[in-house]
């Protein structure tokens, strides 16, 4: 255990770096030809799998066209080489760029589609590879394959087999460093937000489409690099290498290693390379094995080998007493900085779903420094109205204004960027991130840092990351959850998740904060804390719109109450007035009319 404690004291990137060094040292220790070839093929497969992990595991997109990207990379490099451009660095760059372009093009068309459609469309792309090559048979050799690829060179000098092995190793290590830097950065968290729910992503100001495209196009790059390396490994490429079998092997390796992991790709690729695809004796069983892996992987090991490793680490940590004891909660003592609230005005908004008039000429106004409550029986149109403000539904008629700017017709992420933040009836928290990261994700669209700066860890990225952490700490202290900063966010109890959503919304300093049934499911103590928090947001100048069933809480908190019934506003005014309004009592509280 002492050894484990010492190991854990090292930074987490030590292990992968050491592994990379061993990989690069292997030829020095003497490797026979077939072992070396197997390792190189495993590295190439690992690159493919890693790209799939980025789009499938992190962004949750079932895009299975890696084999087609791989083919594009291989043929780009092969044709360059056949034309005399043998420098491997040039080929890698060209393949990467070509594949990025292919990824962007196919992504723009394909990513509008949902899960199955995208999966099938991208598989179709794989099926088309031989046909496309046949169309350009003059350049690609068509179905006979592309021969005449020259031996690779680097900076003018020819590469011997060991040199080429090192090139593969360096590319592999470099890509995994890039992948790791993306995944642990705010972009990685944003991808998980997207995977959790595109609705959540867009209500946090993240364009779901652009994020998907980013993951998909970035995931294509390693496939292109792998293709260039593959073309130079055998100096021959043919359409058969990029078929259905490869596509399913890559998927199986990804699932086996764990799709939502960085280094799982290595483990999965190694298993698939040294397992089923190994020797010719097993060749005919390869498909059977791949099929079994896919079924067993899909049914049993949800997180793959990476998840097993994570669980083992957690268990060892606990045994070694490394798990930090949660400190007692510091109650919300931090001050809320002044918030520049905006005025939300809903003017004459109507919406019909088929024949059902969900909203009919609704008018209300929420002002800075005030809590406006929206109440009404189930089905009265409260949530529809919220969704309309957030841009998830289009208005049939009427206007929605934020400080005079029109919001209706804008996409949800634009509405969010204009300063509308919201929480959800069922808290929506991405999986696999800490409480601190989940809160910091709320700043994704307010303070920008490019993917490139995250990959290279440029000063701009470091500054934003520091700001992310500081702000998130402050927000957590505000809601009294500072002691939970390192916990897994999605595993928190309901009350904590609601407060986390409030913190995540507040961190973007929104003009309007929409709370959708924020108090439902909370115990008395938690409701009090929430009420206190809302009062302080109001005192700091924020605009709060509260959709709530808890009538006591609403009377207690709200400055203005808007009562909806059957899609219409039936009453509007201060709590004292609403409390005694006979129509409200009849419609909403179900009280008999004689009370009035």
């Amino acid at each position: 255990m002492a050894l484990w404690r010492r190991l854990r004291a090292l930074p987490t990137w030590i292990l992968p770096v050491a592994l990379g060094a061993v990989l690069l040292m292997l030829p020095v220790l003497g490797l026979d030809f077939s072992a070396s070839r197997q390792i190189q093929l495993a590295c190439i497969l690992a690159l493919l799998v890693s790209g799939l992990n980025l789009s499938l595991g992190y962004a949750g997109e079932l895009a299975l066209g890696q084999a087609a990207m791989y083919a594009a990379g291989a043929y780009t490099a092969g044709m360059l080489s056949a034309a005399g451009h043998t420098d491997i660095a040039v080929q890698l760059a060209a393949s990467g760029l070509v594949v990025l372009a292919v990824g962007l093009l196919t992504g723009v068309a394909g990513l509008r589609l949902g899960s199955w459609s995208l999966a099938m469309t991208s598989f179709f792309l794989v099926l088309l590879v031989p046909d496309v090559l046949a169309v350009f048979a003059g350049r690609t050799g068509g179905r006979n394959g592309l021969s005449g690829i020259l031996g690779p060179t680097l900076f003018g000098r020819p590469l011997d087999p060991t040199g080429f092995y090192l090139v593969i190793g360096v590319v592999l290590v470099a890509w995994f460093a890039v992948m790791r830097n993306i995944v642990v950065s705010r972009h990685g968290v944003a991808l998980r937000v997207l995977k959790q729910s595109p609705v959540l992503a867009s209500s946090m100001g993240i364009s779901a489409f652009r994020m998907k495209l980013l993951a998909y196009a970035l995931g294509a790059i390693p496939a292109g690099l792998a293709g260039a390396l593959f073309a130079n490994l055998d100096l021959y490429v043919s359409p058969e290498a990029f078929g259905f079998t490869l596509a399913t092997t890559v998927l199986a390796a990804s699932i086996l290693g764990g799709t939502t992991s960085v280094y799982g790709a290595l483990a999965g690729a190694a298993v698939m390379q040294f397992g089923p695809s190994q020797s010719s004796r097993f060749q005919e069983f390869a498909l059977v094995f791949t099929g079994v892996f896919l079924i067993v992987g899909g049914v049993l090991v949800r997180g793959g080998l990476a998840d097993l490793a994570r669980k083992a680490v957690t268990r060892l940590d606990r045994a070694a007493g490394l798990t930090p004891q949660p400190a007692s909660g510091t109650e919300g003592t931090a001050d809320i900085p002044p918030i520049k609230g905006a005025t939300l005005a809903v003017e004459d908004v109507s919406k019909a779903f088929g024949g059902n008039r969900a909203l009919d000429g609704v008018n209300f106004r929420a002002a800075p420094g005030r809590v406006t409550a929206l109440i009404g029986p189930n089905g009265s149109g409260k949530t529809t109205l919220l969704n309309m403000v957030c841009g998830f539904y289009r208005t049939d008629s009427g206007r929605i204004l934020l400080d005079g700017e029109r919001l209706e017709g804008a996409t949800p992420h634009r509405v969010a960027r204009a300063g509308v933040a919201r929480t959800f009836q069922t808290p929506s928290i991405p999986d696999g991130v800490t409480v601190l990261e989940a809160v910091a994700a709320g700043r994704y669209s307010t303070d920008r840092a490019s993917v490139l700066s995250a990959v290279l860890r440029l000063p701009g990225f470091r500054r934003v990351r520091r700001a992310d952490r500081e702000e998130a700490e402050r927000m957590l202290a505000l809601v009294g959850m500072g002691h939970l900063r390192g916990e897994r966010a999605s595993a928190l109890p309901l009350g904590m998740r609601r407060l986390l959503e409030v913190a995540r919304s507040l961190i973007a300093a929104p003009g309007v904060l929409l709370l959708d049934e924020a108090a439902s499911g909370l115990d008395e103590d938690e409701v009090d804390r929430l009420a206190e928090l809302i009062r302080r947001i109001r005192a700091a100048g924020g605009t709060v719109v509260l959709v709530e069933h808890n009538f006591r809480l609403v009377l207690d908190l709200a400055d203005d109450i808007v009562v909806l019934a059957h899609g219409q506003v039936i009453a509007q005014g201060p709590p004292a007035e609403i409390e005694t309004n006979p129509r409200v009592l009849g419609e909403y509280l179900g009280a008999a009319q004689e009370v009035a």
Binding site: G60, L62, A109, R112, L113, G114, S115, W116, S117, A119, M120, T121, F123, F124, L125, L127, L128, P130, D131, V132, A134, V135, V199, F244, T248, L251, A252, I255, E284, F285, A286, L287, V288, F289, T290, G291, V292, F293, L294, I295, V296, G297, G298, V299, R302, F353, T383, N387, C390, F392, Y393, F424
Partner: protein, 285 residues
């Protein structure tokens, strides 16, 4: 006209795969990637029965139906029931598809095998084109199947239960429908159907292990055009895909056949993402 007939027959094959997709989709809102592979197994069983064992047609039909139904039942139990979310089901049914591909290659080898058609193979002249009896049979079977299914789902309690389940699984459960059992038997039935159809499809496509992937994707294009869950849509989709493929192969060259179908797929998906025969619903939070 010969091209048109060939295209129609091909389209009918794809439509038959699509009908299988739809039956499973309606009953359990899942997408069975292995549907085409089930049909492929049916063609192999038909080959063994008709060519190797020289059994009577009726017996072979029964054999193929029963065998593939059993395979489908096993698939449902192992690869679909234990899996929770629909995306993982795509992975496991894909696994089942790969597994079936591998197994059939082990058992029957990689070479295409002939499946004779019981209706004979003398070429007929019809409306100025040449057509094989099996091609006519395929078109007739596809149309009959869609009509039959539509009639069945409106007329019988089981059919109505299916529609109820497709509309709202939980509500159907509350109405006393054993959703899991119904889903299982529908899946098995889709397998039985695939086996039965193997006897019709085999003579057109041959029994070959590479049949699955291409059939699976073209069948999907048919569903994408017609809309998920729409039975009449499969006929229209099959018509479009079969004709596009046959005409492109004739006029542009064989390498353009699949590319043209892909272009149609992309165009349809961009214009009407939920297909031609299914209404889009506004998204809800």
């Amino acid at each position: 006209m010969t091209i048109i007939w060939g295209g129609l027959a091909l389209g009918a094959v794809y439509a038959l795969v699509a009908v299988g997709y739809n039956i499973v989709f309606i009953s359990s809102k899942t997408f069975n990637f292995a549907q085409a592979q089930l049909m492929m197994v049916g063609t192999f069983v038909a080959h063994t029965g008709l060519v190797t064992l020289r059994l009577p047609v009726a017996l072979v039909v029964l054999m193929a139906t029963a065998a593939v139904m059993a395979v489908a039942a096993v698939e449902e139990r192992l690869a679909i029931r234990p899996v929770g979310d629909p995306e993982a089901v795509l992975v496991t049914t894909l696994g089942a598809a790969v597994l079936l591909n591998g197994l059939t290659q082990l058992v029957w080898g990689g070479q295409p095998l002939t499946v004779p058609f019981f209706g004979g193979d003398q070429v007929l002249e019809l409306l100025g084109g040449r057509v094989y009896p099996v091609e006519i049979a395929l078109v007739v079977v596809a149309v009959a199947l869609v009509v039959l299914f539509t009639w069945f789902s409106r007329r019988f309690v089981t059919g109505l239960a299916l529609l109820a389940m497709a509309e709202d699984r939980e509500a159907a459960m509350l109405r006393g429908i054993d959703v899991r059992r119904l889903a299982f038997w529908t899946f098995a039935a889709s397998g039985a159907l695939a086996g039965l159809l193997g006897v019709f499809v085999g003579p057109k496509t041959f029994a070959v292990a590479t049949l699955g992937a291409s059939l699976a994707l073209k069948g999907f294009v048919v569903v994408a055009i017609g809309g998920f869950g729409s039975m009449p849509g499969t006929l229209v989709g099959g018509l479009v895909v079969g004709l596009v493929e046959a005409l492109a192969a004739r006029h542009l060259g064989s390498e353009y056949a699949s590319i043209s179908v892909f272009a149609v797929l992309i165009a349809i998906l961009l214009v009407r993402p939920s297909g031609l025969f299914v209404r889009t619903r506004e998204r809800a939070v």
